[in-house]
């Protein structure tokens, strides 16, 4: 038995239960739980439930009257061309984002983890990540000006490198507008997922790469057979988040095109905003929200598995 200051008392098994005693009165826990849970229920859960109910009514923002119309909002939605344009645009957003923010990001992350880059790696990491800390509003407005045929940077640049015939009003042309907007998102967020993949790659035990190298695997093979499988969880998680974000997109589109020209760049987010706050068709807008909910919710269920596993592991 050793007595060396207060530290040894704490380690004494008789006293180990002390912290447990302090937290034994479970009724004390309530006061820590109520405020947070109340806010979540009020502003996250109840609105979703209200949203379902609202979608069966025809109603305007400031009038008291709500008319029950059953599934009529949904029936109208399925005959609405703009709704399909929005769905198409969100899907294009998701596919392109997965290619760049998962595929390309992974490759860049891998390259930046290579030793020959030395300190240059740190510089590139910071530069690539910076756009993602700035608001989409700033980035959107900046790119709107870069795309602008009068003052912008893009068309003069194309002329300089001899691609004069490509110059156009990027955001004003129906065929290019949505892709011009999607490109800005890639510019902004490749660095963000790249950083997440770098963090994941740094957790891979170094021996795995060493033994792969002994077996004669070059950089490419190490990437495919060691790095990618070892980052499976991070890849899956980011895949889900990237797809969900592609369906939630609002700011960039609202800022850069407002859904135009025509309605060619409308996405679910901007379309529901327009229905609610421009056309004052609240019921119709909530029906669009419901579709958005169904899409994002069912993709996110996979995300929840990740958290569930972490909670399971820690107890």
């Amino acid at each position: 038995m050793e007595v060396q200051g207060s530290g040894s008392i704490i380690r004494n098994p008789v006293f180990v239960e002390m912290a447990g005693i302090m937290y034994r009165e479970n009724k004390h826990a309530i006061k820590y739980i109520v405020p947070g849970v109340l806010i979540i229920i009020l502003f996250i859960y109840i609105p979703v439930i209200m949203n379902f109910r609202y979608s069966f009514f025809s109603w305007a923002s400031y009038s008291k009257e709500k008319r029950f119309i059953g599934f009529e909002n949904y029936i109208r939605l399925f005959h609405d061309d703009v709704f399909y344009t929005a769905l198409f645009n969100n899907t294009a957003y998701a596919i392109i984002s997965v290619v760049f923010q998962i595929g390309l990001s992974l490759i860049i992350a891998w390259i930046l983890e290579q030793k020959f880059l030395g300190n240059a790696s740190k510089f590139f990491r910071i530069v690539f990540y910076i756009p993602s800390v700035i608001s989409m509003t700033v980035v959107g407005l900046l790119w709107q000006m870069i795309y602008n045929p009068n003052i912008g940077l893009l068309n003069p640049l194309l002329e300089v490198i001899g691609l004069r015939n490509l110059t156009r009003d990027w955001l004003g042309d129906k065929n290019t507008a949505i892709y011009a907007v999607i490109s800005v998102s890639q510019w902004q967020y490749i660095g963000s997922t790249m950083m997440l993949f770098i963090v994941a790659m740094q957790k891979i035990p170094q021996e795995l790469f060493e033994s792969a190298a002994i077996d004669g695997a070059g950089g490419m093979k190490q990437f495919i057979y060691v790095a990618v499988p070892q980052c499976k969880e991070a890849i899956l998680m980011n895949l889900i988040v990237t797809i969900v974000n592609a369906f939630k997109v609002f700011d960039e589109v609202y800022i850069m095109t407002g859904g135009g020209p025509g309605r060619s760049t409308e996405v679910l987010g901007t379309y529901l905003y327009r229905a609610a706050f421009r056309n004052n068709e609240m019921g119709y807008a909530t029906a669009i929200s419901t579709v958005l909910f169904l899409i994002t919710f069912f993709i996110s269920v996979f995300q929840l598995q990740f958290y569930r596993r972490q909670i399971g592991d820690s107890k």
Partner: protein, 280 residues
């Protein structure tokens, strides 16, 4: 001998990779440089010579942008960001504390219930929240932005702090228990100081979210005097559409705090990434 021959193409590949990375870095840096430079130009220069440096460094644009409203929006952004972050952290910290220290029936279910909030997009409840805030009579006040913003951050921040707390050594709290310390004293005086690194991460991620958010201020407030920077910028664009250089100056002013914060606090940012595996 073989090494030499093998080494050569490898070096070419390395050089190629460096060039590609450099090009990508340029694609990111050039727009920012253009933004900062153009903010120093006159409108005429902007139209006629997109590539040249400004003839005279024209800081007027920055002053104009500031007095055209960015100053006021800046204040609103700081207020909303600080209060939303405080509310989020206070709620999340208490929740994480209760869920990691007390052992009661349904604790794990409650944690899952809280984290499930992550699955619900702010857009889905947008219209209901708009009505709810009117019912609570806080629509078109600062609180109409602050409270919902905090609410949507609580699931993630709670998870962040909780996962830190469950792995933490309980020795100090045990000692405090011997001294007859109360639970709230343990939280305030023992745990909070130890939680500093993860709290810093939580603050950073929520502050970034609140500072950059566009949708909630757009929908939940009407009064222009309450608007934050993102909305302020977009309204500058639609009202002063000829004054590009002032807008560019305004963009530079707005981007600056976040870039600075990131460069100064990279480690906290990256800890957030590591803990949550989620892009903020």
């Amino acid at each position: 001998m073989r090494k030499l021959i093998k080494g050569k193409p490898e070096n070419i590949i390395k050089a190629g990779i460096l060039i590609l990375l450099g090009l990508y870095a340029l694609i990111i840096i050039v727009p920012f440089l253009w933004m900062i430079m153009s903010g120093l130009k006159t409108n005429k220069e902007l139209f006629l010579s997109p590539w040249e440096l400004p003839e005279k460094w024209n800081f007027d644009n920055y002053l104009k942008a500031w007095s055209a409203g960015i100053g006021k929006y800046f204040f609103n952004s700081i207020l909303v960001t600080v209060l939303a972050t405080l509310l989020d952290l206070a709620c999340s910290c208490s929740l994480a504390f209760a869920l990691s220290r007390y052992r009661f029936k349904g604790a794990r279910g409650l944690l899952m219930f809280i984290i499930s909030g992550l699955m619900l997009a702010p857009q889905v409840g947008l219209i209901s929240n708009y009505k709810l805030l009117q019912m609570f009579r806080i629509y078109d006040t600062y609180f109409a932005v602050i409270i919902p913003t905090a609410a949507f951050r609580i699931p993630f921040t709670t998870f962040l702090i909780w996962s830190y707390l469950v792995t933490m050594n309980k020795d100090l709290e045990e000692a405090a228990g011997i001294e007859g310390c109360k639970d709230w004293q343990a939280l305030l005086y023992i745990l909070l100081p130890l939680l500093k690194p993860i709290l810093a991460t939580g603050v950073l991620l929520t502050a970034k979210y609140a500072w950059n958010d566009f949708l909630f201020p757009l929908v939940f407030t009407e009064n222009i005097a309450l608007k934050t920077i993102p909305y302020g910028l977009s309204s500058m664009q639609s009202t002063q559409d000829t004054n590009w250089t002032v807008l560019l100056a305004a963009l530079t002013i707005s981007a600056f705090p976040m870039i600075l914060m990131f460069i100064l606090l990279q480690n906290q940012f990256i800890r957030g990434l590591s803990a949550g595996s989620v892009k903020g």
